[in-house]
């Protein structure tokens, strides 16, 4: 009996361990975790004319934790923009200054970082998170603070929840799904399409959009199959894929490790489908892991180094300063600073409401990600680049803009 009790304790301990590692990250995931502590104070506008002090922009970035690496790129993108603006004379005769706080790659960390930034009354706008789940956690604090916050999370709901202070600097998941479906059906002419997706909030949300978009184009998917993040073996899914007779495969996968393993197994099992993947397929990690298993596949991405003239110019400047090509992490923060600066130039003063109105009035602004035209929801972009993997490098294939 004692032994059995011991086993039960051990199982409980195991359960503890599962929850400990199960709470891992899901990039772009949409689940909100807890509510932010209301800060109890709203940000004040910076003092008006005659100032010579720099204009402060806050930035919430992961400096520690799992997303630390992407945090570095987000930091560099924003810093490059500030440097360029200051070199060109600044805004309203004042220099820009970034104030950065670590979000520790957690939701509570992101909320705490934002609150700390809001304490500084000289901060006129904030660059928030690229992770949807963190943005969701920050929402109540943002609504309370009434200060413009740039976000990079692509979850559709973030700009559709009635919070007027959130501005998105990447196209949302609804657009990527529409581009995936449109490209597969209209450009590639495939009618038998399978969809494989991660079962987290990000993957399920994306899958719903893809299936909806496919149906709108008159295509009923032959297979829709989810898997859990961290899956190590895709044999079961891939045999079903083979049996479904699909000519094309659309994936909405969250982690590049999972994508890499699946890509290898697709090749091993000799499955012949045209693969069009959501942005994770274009991640550097996926290419490193899967190698030639990804040759010939298509992917969609919001940022492409040679996507437009503005992208090329940004990439050159970035490369000159940091010695490597930029990615979407650096592109969206660069754009956020640029658009904030443009709005501050246009606005009569630096009150949050004036900046907000100025951002909404921005039309045709050429950013590194694409051309910004903000709608009333705060969505600035509605394009996706389709890229093709040619022997390991992603080449621009076609840019598709969704015009509802």
């Amino acid at each position: 009996m004692r032994r059995r009790l011991g086993l039960v304790t051990i199982v409980l301990a195991a359960a503890l361990l599962v929850t400990a590692c199960g709470g891992g990250s899901s990039q772009g995931g949409g689940a909100a975790q807890g509510g932010g502590q209301p800060s109890g104070q709203s940000a004040q506008q910076a003092a008006g004319g005659g100032e010579t002090k720099p204009i402060k922009i806050g930035q919430v970035i992961p400096i520690t934790g799992e997303a630390a690496e992407s945090g570095k790129y987000q930091k560099q993108g924003a810093e490059l923009a500030v440097e360029q603006i200051n070199a060109a004379g600044g805004v309203k005769g004042r220099k820009l200054q970034l104030v950065q706080e670590d979000d520790k790659t957690t939701n509570p960390g992101a909320v705490a970082a934002l609150q700390k930034l809001l304490e500084d009354k000289e901060i006129v706008a904030v660059i928030g998170s690229i992770r949807s789940t963190q943005v969701q956690a920050m929402m109540p604090t943002i609504a309370e603070a009434k200060i413009p916050v740039a976000i990079g999370g692509t979850n559709y709901g973030l700009t559709h929840s009635g919070n007027p202070w959130v501005f998105r600097f990447r196209p949302h998941d609804g657009y990527s799904a529409q581009v995936l479906a449109k490209f597969t059906v209209e450009e590639l002419g495939k009618k038998k399409v399978a969809v494989i997706h991660s079962t987290d909030a990000f993957g399920t949300g994306g899958k719903d959009f893809v299936v909806e978009a496919l149906k709108k184009l008159g295509v009923e998917p032959v297979l829709v199959q989810g898997y859990n993040n961290g899956e190590k073996d895709y044999t079961a899914i891939l045999t079903a894929l083979k049996q479904s007779g699909a000519e094309a495969l659309i994936t909405y996968m969250t982690f590049s490790t999972d994508l890499g393993i699946m890509a290898k197994q697709i090749k091993q099992l000799g499955i012949n489908v045209t693969w069009v993947g959501s942005p994770s397929i274009t991640a550097k990690d996926a290419a490193n892991l899967a190698g030639d298993a990804l040759y010939g596949t298509y992917g969609v991405t919001d940022f492409q180094v040679d996507g437009s003239e503005a992208s090329k110019k940004f990439a050159e400047a970035y490369k000159a300063k940091y010695g490597q090509n930029p990615d979407l992490y650096s592109a969206w923060t660069y754009d956020a600073v640029m658009v904030f600066a443009e709005a501050m130039k246009k606005a009569p003063d630096l009150k949050p409401e004036s900046i907000r109105q100025a951002i909404l009035s921005i039309k045709g602004f050429p950013g590194a990600e694409g051309e910004y035209n903000f709608d009333q929801n705060g969505d600035g972009l509605r394009h996706y680049h389709v890229v093709k993997n040619e022997n390991g490098t992603w080449k621009l294939f076609k840019t598709i803009t969704i015009t509802d």
Binding site: L7, I10, L17, A67, E69, E231, K232, G260
Partner: protein, 298 residues
């Protein structure tokens, strides 16, 4: 109908292969449990550490693969000694619970340490048999991954060796005696502390080896050991706690149940099948398939 045969064959091979990996990790858990009555929740992370050491030696230091493999195994054995001294030894006179909690703590520390040192980007390792464009061979419509074949063979060989060692060698018997009654073993002149240290050394060696074997298939991440460890733990309970045969049968069975469950019932609930089996066994046959060999203590 003729088309479904290769599919069943493919699922069977995949299930057995994954199960073999679980079994390999489970062997380490069983060993430590037999020697100390402690379940080591850091066993899965030994796999992760072994894989990272191999990454550092091959890609960082540029050693040839064979040499790097041997050095990594030696490093893991040394690491086992440190683990025994640092995690087990200070708590050796306490009940099993503080030690288990210490291993959970060590597991969290290893994962975060790996994250801090190596970053979140997964790393790639070359397979042992680096041949062909797919790294395997297709026979009768079934794809055999060389790396999985190697893993299965290594698992079976190690099980045989381990069985022989415990049942037929003096050292193995001393280790068993230590696990059954430390005080009695000490009275009989068995160096208990050394026996236990030896067990930890061999277990980390096994854990590291399992990691180096699966890394080419799973890629190397700081989390790769966590799931492995839990599945292996489920395998040991299913097979019969503390039983070497049980660990391997439990591991293989778990792999097959998972793979077929995913194919014919539900993919998202794949992990649930393994733990469902675990719960059913705990409810109806807590001693597992083969029962427990270590005698009940008063």
């Amino acid at each position: 109908m003729s088309e479904s045969l290769p599919i069943v064959g493919q699922l069977l091979f995949t299930g057995l292969s994954i199960g073999g990996v679980y079994a390999l990790v489970a062997l380490g858990i069983v060993l430590i449990y037999r020697a100390t009555n402690v379940v080591n929740f850091a066993q899965g992370d030994f796999s992760m550490l072994g894989a990272y050491i191999l990454v550092v030696l091959t890609q960082g230091a540029g050693l040839p693969y064979g040499l790097a493999f041997a050095v990594a195994l030696a490093a893991m054995a040394l690491f086992g000694l440190l683990f025994a001294l640092g995690v087990y030894y200070p708590l050796r006179n306490r009940t099993f619970l503080p030690v288990i909690i210490a291993t959970i703590g060590a597991s969290i520390m290893f994962q975060n340490g790996a994250l801090a040192v190596f970053g979140p980007s997964p790393q790639k390792l070359r397979p042992i048999i680096d041949a062909g464009p797919t790294g395997g061979v297709t026979v009768g419509g079934v794809f055999f991954d060389y790396q999985y074949l190697v893993t299965l063979v290594v698992t079976l060989v190690l099980v045989a060796v381990q069985h022989f060692f415990f049942e037929y060698t003096l050292l193995g018997k001393k280790m068993q005696a230590t696990s059954q009654d430390k005080d009695m073993a000490r009275l009989l002149g068995i160096p208990v502390t050394a026996m236990i240290a030896l067990t930890f050394i061999y277990s980390t060696f096994l854990g590291g080896l399992s990691g180096m074997l699966v890394a080419p298939i799973f890629f190397v991440t700081h989390k790769m050991g966590a799931v492995l460890g839990l599945k292996a733990f489920a395998a040991t309970i299913t097979g019969g706690f503390g039983d070497v045969k049980g660990a391997i049968i439990g591991g293989l069975a778990l792999g097959i149940v998972e793979t077929f469950g995913a194919a014919y019932i539900s993919v998202p609930y794949k992990d649930a099948f393994a733990f469902l089996v675990l719960i059913i066994f705990l409810l109806f046959r807590p001693q597992g398939i083969f029962g427990e060999k270590v005698a009940e203590k008063a």
